[in-house]
């Protein structure tokens, strides 16, 4: 009768999406400037004690870690994008809107200017400062939003815009008064780059992101109701403030993890939730997991293009996501025009 979402349909779709993700990962492992063969790579880490197996080295130490990193970052950004759009009840929201971007930028800039040179868990000071800068700014925006009172969502959005503008100005100021080459490197880093990471970093950040997404999955049904507004949600038995706080905290956390790994990769958190919503509808129980998988796939493909299109040089992946994401989104918009409700 009516198209209700059954657990069976949901599980089938998620399983299919994950299968597609694995296929994309495998396919992209074999795309790159150096042709490698699976057979050669399977021969093992070393051909002899003296010479390492180049195919194996490239596959497992270069390509696979980078693909996993793209998957982690893409899933985190898309998942956080879904939550920010639902909580802020604004289809234009993205994971950076509450100050993550400028906070991370300011943190990274401070790390460079103060010449911090220790490392934490193998992460560069730029990444660590960006992580805490992002989280600290979201906390600041949340606090300001609370102070502005009852119309919490509008207050949050305004606070986010103002803090972002302020911090961006500070970043530009610091950039212009500092002559250090490192500052330009930081600006480049913030544009959004993926690089090879150590296994420990992948495990730790991947664990954080997956745990965060799983926790968010429990909130899908509540997010549906909250997108109708806090009054409706409360009258239907939802603890609105609690769900809002938990969802935003988790989303800000996984976004900050993503930013500390890769800088500011734009468009993923905005476009992927929209694309999935256009095709499969707005139900957050389904939108959230499928957006995470789609975000992972999208960023893996974008990064593969980024490291291959101007080889042997590499583009920042943020450039690819913006350039490819826009037209891709427009095609979807036209194709599924009848389902575009928020424009009416």
């Amino acid at each position: 009768m009516h198209p209700f979402l059954s657990p069976k349909t949901l599980l089938t779709r998620v399983a299919a999406a994950i299968l597609l993700l694995v296929l994309v990962m495998v396919a992209c492992s074999f795309v790159g400037t150096e042709p490698i063969s699976l057979k050669a790579a399977l021969a093992g880490p070393a051909l002899s004690s003296a010479s390492p197996n180049p195919d194996y080295e490239i596959l497992l130490r270069v390509r696979v870690p980078r693909i996993l990193l793209a998957a982690i970052v893409g899933a985190a950004l898309a998942g956080a994008g879904v939550v920010f759009q639902a909580i802020l009840r604004n289809p234009l929201a993205d994971p950076y809107i509450l100050g993550v971007s400028s906070g991370a930028g300011l943190g990274a800039m401070l790390a460079v200017i103060c010449s911090v040179n220790w490392t934490l868990w193998g992460r560069s000071p730029v990444a660590v400062f960006a992580f805490f800068g992002a989280l600290g700014t979201v906390w600041l925006v949340w606090t300001i939003g609370r102070i502005t009172g009852k119309f919490h969502v509008t207050g949050l959005l305004l606070a986010g815009v103002v803090v972002n503008a302020c911090f961006s100005a500070v970043i530009m100021f610091l950039t212009s008064i500092t002559r250090s080459q490192d500052v330009y490197a930081t600006v480049f880093w913030l544009m959004g780059n993926l690089a090879e990471e150590e296994a420990f970093v992948l495990w730790a950040s991947g664990g954080c992101v997956v745990a965060g997404i799983v926790a968010l999955l429990f909130l899908g049904a509540q997010l549906n109701v909250i997108s109708f507004g806090p009054t409706d949600a409360r009258s239907m038995g939802i603890h609105v403030e609690r769900v809002q706080f938990v969802a935003l905290a988790i989303s800000a956390f996984i976004t900050a993890v993503a930013v500390s790994l890769s800088g500011l990769i734009g468009f993923v958190g905005l476009i992927v939730p929209h694309a999935v919503r256009l095709v499969l509808g707005p139900d957050h129980r389904q939108l959230l997991p499928l957006s995470c998988v789609a975000g992972a796939i999208f960023l893996i493909v974008a990064d593969t293009v980024a490291r291959w299109i101007v080889a042997p040089a590499q583009l920042p992946v943020g450039v690819i996501t913006a350039m490819a994401g826009g037209p891709f989104f427009l095609i979807l918009l036209i194709r599924y025009n009848r389902k575009v409700y928020w424009l009416s």
């Binding site: 009516h2 198209p3 209700f4 657990p7 289809p91 049904a221 109701v225 409700y341 009416s344």
Partner: protein
């Protein structure tokens, strides 16, 4: 479903010393249709918010089934009281069926997947409100009247003994206004629900409601001593439509002149503006004007 709603000396103020509601006492028997009427700013929506547990009174008690409303958990309260707000369009393109199904969230588990009983309740709510025909269409594609019926269907699917509505007919044409009131009346009678609706349409309220709460802005009622405030020192009046809807009451509370006549057993009112075309020619309005 025998659920009684009671307000005992309820006072609520957004700002100290400026109460919106002052010492309200009200008892609504099960399966009653209560209209809440009064000028803008009289505290009608505040009263509904209090009954929905969205606000907490500074003084007095709001009780449902003899239990103080804030002693209920949010979820338990959602099984007692459903709320239909003024008509609005959601941000995302949820379909009618999805929207109505959300009302079951207080009844289903964390994951929010509906059981067969939830489907039956939703299908029933769609049938009663005559919205099953566009169950799979997005809310934004519907007209205002259709959308209002969907939100009433959602309140029905929540399966609560009490349904609160904030101006359910404010944007609707005459035919759809009557359709909504017919629907609410049938819900009250056949499903034995208590319906509490804010309305500006006194005449529809007179035709459909069993009990009326007429609110006057507290400041107007308390500030003007010469003025015969409704009730003894109170800024509200509660009773049957015949008791509350009298010409003098309506004229004093709304501060206008009205023409009144009886239709069936109920009093109906027609506001008379000073600049109306006929205002100069007309003497004191006579019932014969109707003819």
């Amino acid at each position: 479903m025998t659920t009684r709603v009671q307000l005992h000396n309820v006072t609520f103020a957004y700002r100290p010393d400026q109460p919106v509601l002052k010492d309200i006492c009200l008892s609504v028997e099960p399966a009653t249709f209560l209209a809440v009427v009064g000028p803008n700013g009289a505290g009608k929506t505040t009263l509904i918010d209090l009954l929905a547990g969205l606000l907490e009174p500074q003084e007095g008690i709001v009780a449902i089934d003899g239990r103080e409303i804030h002693s209920y958990s949010r979820r338990h309260l959602a099984e007692k009281v459903a709320l239909v707000r003024q008509e609005h369009v959601p941000v995302f393109g949820f379909s009618v069926a999805e929207t109505v199904l959300m009302a079951r969230i207080a009844h289903v588990g964390q994951w929010g997947f509906e059981r067969p009983v939830d489907r039956r309740t939703v299908a029933d709510a769609l049938d009663v409100t005559d919205t099953a025909q566009f169950a799979s269409r997005p809310l934004a594609d519907l007209s205002g009247g259709e959308r209002q019926r969907v939100f009433i269907a959602r309140a029905l699917a929540q399966d609560t003994p009490i349904i609160l509505l904030d101006e359910p007919t404010s944007f609707l044409d005459l035919r759809h206004q009557v359709a909504i009131y017919d629907l609410l009346k049938s819900v009250q009678r056949e499903k034995a629900r208590t319906v509490i609706a804010i309305t500006h349409d006194i005449n529809l309220a007179a035709q459909y409601c069993d009990q009326v709460l007429l609110l006057q802005p507290w400041r107007a009622a308390s500030g003007d001593q010469s003025h015969s405030a409704p009730g003894a020192g109170a800024h509200y009046r509660v009773g049957s439509t015949h008791q509350v809807f009298t010409k003098s009451e309506i004229e004093s509370v709304f501060g206008i002149r009205v023409f009144s006549a009886s239709v069936g057993s109920e009093n109906m009112f027609l506001p008379l503006g000073e600049m109306a075309k006929d205002a100069g020619r007309r003497g004191p309005p006579q019932p014969t004007d109707l003819a």
